[in-house]
């Protein structure tokens, strides 16, 4: 059987999840190995969960929240952006490929963007190969 990456797609409850719903309304398709996990806001996502997911064998983590300036909670997505930047530096320091985490904004209506992101990320992780931890 060919190897399929294990990917968790963390979405905020408003824009990210909304994007997933738009994708479904438009009947757009993306790979099955991408599993959604809903948080209230990307700003409420502890980077520790991401580290833990990598330790548990995740090959990639994709995160989608509201576009800048558009956060349901005003500033949560800015927090997320800063945290992710810090996390990536840490991952890099440990010699871990920081490109296994992506943060990409998806608006409620942007079903197409969500699906494109999912497909692109899946291909990207396939190229990187399995997580070696």
């Amino acid at each position: 059987m060919t190897w399929e990456p294990k990917i968790v797609y963390i979405m905020c409850s408003w824009c990210g999840s909304g994007g997933a719903e738009s994708a479904s309304a438009y009947g757009l398709k993306y790979p099955e190995n991408i599993k959604p996990f809903r948080v209230w806001c990307t700003g409420g996502l502890d980077p520790a969960y991401i580290l833990r997911a990598f330790l548990e064998g995740a090959d990639g983590i994709l995160i989608s929240g509201c576009h800048p300036g558009d956060c349901h909670y005003d500033t949560g997505n800015y927090f997320a952006r800063r945290r992710l930047a810090a996390l990536k530096t840490i991952l890099k320091t440990f010699g871990f490929d920081e490109d296994r985490v992506w943060l990409r904004w998806v608006g409620h209506s942007e079903g197409k963007r969500l699906v494109d992101t999912a497909i692109e990320f899946n291909e990207h992780i396939k190229k990187l190969g399995p997580n070696k931890i």
Binding site: S17, S24, E56, E110, G111
Partner: protein, 986 residues
């Protein structure tokens, strides 16, 4: 008429946003509304939201209230509807209407598509995919009424027996909020719209963007699909007499230009406009940014288009009298709106409302919504060119005004049934799989999913549901939950964003706390988005496993409520502050109003009339009289706030009178109406020569008969729109024109030197009048202000004219400077620190991060308490005219009335609030800093964090910020997240 005799229903005509917002506010206040939609479905008649959208967002949430209030029985929507007759008296109107119910009831349609498949005539159409749902319509021309679709419809949503019917409704008041009249081919002939291939309206682009956001593809030339390099954006209302422009139109053009440059940096983008009319705050920043990144802005006097052979466009424009020509590859038109002449005529006949001289609905002076007929209100684009934020604000304004005619509230949300105490039971999870009325059966092996799911740990019961969203299935499912004896529920269904209330209701009726349930999106995350059945099954199972582990640790919670003081505190006794106090007092709210100076009236009281010639003094005097008369209002002059403690519903304000007597007041809400100040001038020998005036000085001199100059030069934007004050004061252009016209009557020579004339809406008329009456206008460059020299008998002004670059010299006796306003920075800073409402760097209160977001945020939950019960209004918010200041005050009153009358309020976010594990909390205060809602504070005695459930919206910012793991959200605790993600990876 006493209030209690009135009817409790309001009729809203048209689907403009102000109408929607009135419905929302009245619904929350407990009143019923009837919405007449002339279209066959929700947005068939396009309203401003989706067609004049500045941003590339969808704003579908503007229609959100509709679903909620229909569900509560507070709103009745009639489609294909119209008004036939209006009889009766204010508070008691009898309205004859016609309507035709849609064939497909969208509230129970599950979009299974079976009707489309079965129809032999292909008469069922699916529209319009704007939101996240599709709307099913029957094309009457093709339909033979064979009945096959009705037979096959699994939910009974489709019924063919719908006919047009007439009925009479009795309502207390009527709100006219028809949609704006868009411009089309004929109106845009001059610009070749729909004739030249590469000319598009901005709204076309926006609509096209909705599924993807703005992308390069949106810019491709329609003639050959190539990406254009030279793009022109034209603000058409400034060149087209039949169109009207709101204040936002030029902003939209600039925003579009910036977006294009961001995506396509090598493109050459030029905006053609006569005047830039964005004002205040962030708008001007975007304008500056546009110039920085190389957007060219040509302030041309006249523009028309020609198509060339290769479908390029030749733009001919006039600049300071000279003709110029340039070729472009692609042209975007930023359009305005037309006057709703037909609609106004219709209502002139139906209910004798008046139109104004532009063909819009007439509004009484110093009101924002009152027609000449009591009990009939008009809002939004029906009353004049409007931007999106005002339209929403007018909705709140109408809601608080129409209460005059309304009786007792009649709608209250239903009480949830008592919940079962499950704390002593072992975890027993029930999995309920929705088959969407059989639609999922051939897309996923639901029987096998049932078998596999029953093997998951803690799952004791698995059942397949027929459906989960129709009233009947909700009842059945609740019964199933109760009978199965489980104490945790996984509902594998579809979109909670749309149907959350229904699912929650199901669980609650099943006797369980909603925190003991998980709603999986079987449709969105599995069924609709994948192809492979086997893999779908696997994914569905892993989602159920993750949900089961999350539920294992679920914490039920009854939901919090908090007391609410029904009093209001107003800071500032200017027009806006007084208006807020009067309106609140009228609804029986106790108001305390404090004013820093020794008299009421504020800055507007120093003006005698506005450009429309209305008597401002008289209006303000009537306000002052009412403030003094009304026993619900306590006024303190010479008073300043010392401290503000607390949060919405529970403020404690300490203020001192005459710097001596200290008072303490409780209040539920605070209005900040600190107003603005006339900006100090230091340039142009001001203060050193008696013949140099500000506009206000001159008005005073004229009134006192001390003004004798025979020639006057006015310079606009003195000290404005620069680095220190990067905003437009919004009032000086009309003030200058008003004074210029007045001086011309006395035969005085007037020259106005300006950068942009910001006369949006109907004020443009006065510009035309001024030109006709011989006022001389010269435009100068933004960075090259006119120079003034003193001569023996006056001044010599030299100015480099925009467009021609000619140096012109003008001699005059008096020099008048339009200096604009500045916020009361010292007071605002102090109040900002006390209330936590942020200030813009220029000193105005910021209620959200940008000019467009401000509008968008207004539409989203949690509107009323977003600012924690503090409402900056009037010029504390941004520079405004008197009417606009009044509108901000009235809309804030409308918002606050929604909760001021309630003694206790449930936490707006219900059961999902963050919590503190006191055993872990060290009281460091990191969570307090990150909380966007000021929902957290540190208990001074215990040194532990405290959450005000009333303010928390459960975003989780505190959870991540907490260094000791003490902060958590009830439905996303650490162990829940970790267990769930592990399960997803398993």
């Amino acid at each position: 008429m006493t209030a209690n005799q009135g009817k409790s229903t309001v009729l809203v005509y048209g689907t403009n946003m102000s109408g929607y917002r009135t419905i929302y506010a009245l619904g929350k206040l407990g009143y019923k509304t009837i919405l007449l939609n002339r279209g066959k479905y929700v947005d068939e008649v396009k309203n401003q939201v989706l067609s004049q959208l500045p941003l590339d967002l969808c704003w579908a949430c503007a229609f959100g209230p509709q679903r909620m209030f229909v569900g509560l029985g507070a709103l009745n929507v009639f489609y294909s509807a119209d008004i036939l007759e209006i009889k009766g008296t204010p508070g008691n109107y009898k309205v004859k209407i016609k309507k035709k119910d849609p064939y497909v009831n969208n509230f129970i349609c599950t979009e299974c598509n079976k009707c489309v498949e079965v129809c032999p005539e292909g008469a069922i159409e699916v529209m319009p995919k704007v939101f996240w749902e599709n709307i099913y319509l029957i094309n009457e021309e093709k339909c033979t009424k064979c009945g096959k679709c009705e037979e096959i419809c699994p939910t009974g949503a489709l019924k063919l027996d719908k006919k047009e019917e007439e009925l009479e409704v009795e309502v207390a008041g009527i709100v006219l909020s028809p949609e704006y009249v868009d411009v089309d081919k004929g109106d845009l002939e001059k610009f070749g719209y729909k004739v030249f291939k590469n000319v598009l309206k901005n709204s076309d682009i926006v609509r096209g963007n909705i599924p993807t956001s703005f992308v390069l593809n949106s810019l491709k030339r329609r003639s050959d699909g190539k990406l254009p390099q030279k793009i022109a954006i034209i603000v058409t209302p400034q060149y087209n007499n039949i169109e009207y422009e709101d204040f936002n139109t030029t902003n939209i053009a600039v925003y579009r230009a910036v977006r294009i440059k961001e995506l396509h940096p090598s493109a050459d983008v030029t905006i053609f406009m006569r005047n830039y009319r964005g004002f205040g705050k962030g708008a001007y920043k975007i304008y500056e940014r546009a110039k920085e990144i190389g957007v060219k802005i040509i302030k041309a006097d006249d523009v028309y288009l020609n198509e060339l052979e290769n479908n390029d466009l030749e733009i001919t424009y006039k600049l300071a009298g000279k003709q110029n020509k340039e070729n472009y590859e692609f042209v975007i038109l930023v359009t305005g709106q037309k006057a709703p002449i037909e609609e106004v005529k219709k209502f002139e006949k139906l209910c004798k409302i008046k139109g104004d001289n532009h063909g819009f609905c007439y509004i009484e002076p110093f009101t924002n919504n009152k027609t000449n007929i009591p009990g009939i209100y008009a809002g939004g684009e029906f009353t004049g060119p409007r931007g999106n934020p005002e339209t929403v604000w007018e909705g709140y304004d109408i809601a608080q005004d129409i209460l005059d005619f309304l009786g007792k509230p009649v709608v209250s949300p239903p009480q949830p049934p008592p919940f079962r105490d499950v704390s002593k039971e072992e975890v027993k999870i029930g999995v309920f799989l929705c088959s969407c009325f059989g639609k999922f059966n051939d897309k996923i092996d639901i029987e096998r999913l049932k078998d596999e799911a029953s093997k998951i740990p803690y799952v004791t019961h698995v059942e397949i549901l027929n459906g989960a969203c129709t009233p009947q299935t909700i009842q059945e499912n609740a019964k199933k939950i109760r009978e199965s004896g489980v104490n945790r529920v996984i509902l594998a269904v579809c979109t909670p964003l749309q149907k959350l209330m229904k699912f929650r209701k199901t669980v609650m009726m099943g006797g369980l706390n909603p925190l003991l349930a998980e709603f999986l999106r079987l449709r969105e995350d599995v069924v609709n988005v994948h192809e492979d059945k086997e893999k779908k099954l696997e994914k569905a199972l892993s989602l159920i496993r993750a949900a089961a582990l999350k539920l294992k640790y679920a914490l039920p919670f009854p939901g919090a409520s908090d007391k609410f003081h029904g009093k209001a505190f107003v800071i500032g006794g200017g027009v806006a502050g007084m208006e807020a106090a009067i309106r609140l007092a009228k609804r029986g709210v106790q108001v305390t109003l404090i004013e820093k100076s020794d008299s009421l009236g504020g800055i507007a009281y120093r003006l005698d009339s506005d450009i429309e010639g209305r008597d401002l003094k008289k209006f303000i005097e009537s306000q002052i009289k009412e403030i003094k008369r009304n026993e619900n209002i306590k006024v303190y002059l010479n008073s300043e706030v010392d401290s503000i403690k607390g949060y919405a519903g529970n403020f404690k304000i300490i203020f001192s009178e005459n710097k001596k007597i200290t008072h303490i007041e409780d209040a539920g809400v605070i209005f900040i109406a600190t107003g603005a100040k006339i900006r100090e001038v230091s340039s142009y020998f001001y203060g050193k020569n008696p013949n140099i005036y500000t506009q206000l000085d001159m008005e005073k001199a004229i009134n006192e008969g001390k003004f004798s100059a025979k020639s006057v030069v006015m310079i606009q934007c003195v000290g404005s729109r620069n680095k220190a004050y990067p905003y437009c004061s919004r009032i000086c252009c009309s003030q200058a024109l008003k004074n210029a016209l007045r001086l011309r009557e006395k035969g005085v020579e007037v020259t106005i030197l300006y950068r942009d004339l910001k006369l949006y809406g109907f004020k443009e008329d006065y510009y035309k009048e001024a030109v006709n009456k011989g006022v001389n206008f010269i435009r100068f460059y933004d960075d090259n202000y006119p120079k003034a020299g003193q001569t023996e008998n006056g001044f010599k002004i030299t100015v480099k004219e925009y467009g021609t670059d000619e140096e012109k010299a003008i001699n005059c006796d008096a020099l008048v400077l339009s200096v604009g306003i500045r916020p009361d920075i010292e007071t605002n800073k102090k109040l900002s620190q006390m209330t936590g409402i942020k200030l813009f760097e220029n000193g105005f209160f910021a209620i959200s991060p940008g000019p467009f977001e401000e509008a968008a945020k207004k539409l989203m939950k949690p509107f009323e308490l977003q600012t924690n019960g503090v409402f900056p209004i009037g010029m504390a918010l941004s520079p405004r005219t008197v009417d606009e200041s009044l509108l901000t005050a009235r809309q804030a009153v409308g918002q606050s009335l929604i909760f001021l009358k309630k003694q206790r309020l449930p936490a707006p976010n219900g059961v999902f609030v963050s919590e503190v594990d006191e055993s872990k909390c060290v009281g460091c205060g990191y969570c307090v800093e990150v909380c966007p809602y000021n929902a957290r504070s540190i208990d001074e005695v215990k040194k532990k964090a405290v959450v005000h459930p009333f303010l928390c919206d459960s975003c989780g910012a505190c959870v991540v910020a907490c260094p000791s793991g003490a902060a958590f959200i009830r439905d996303l605790q650490d162990k829940q997240v970790i267990a769930s993600i592990d399960a997803l990876l398993g």
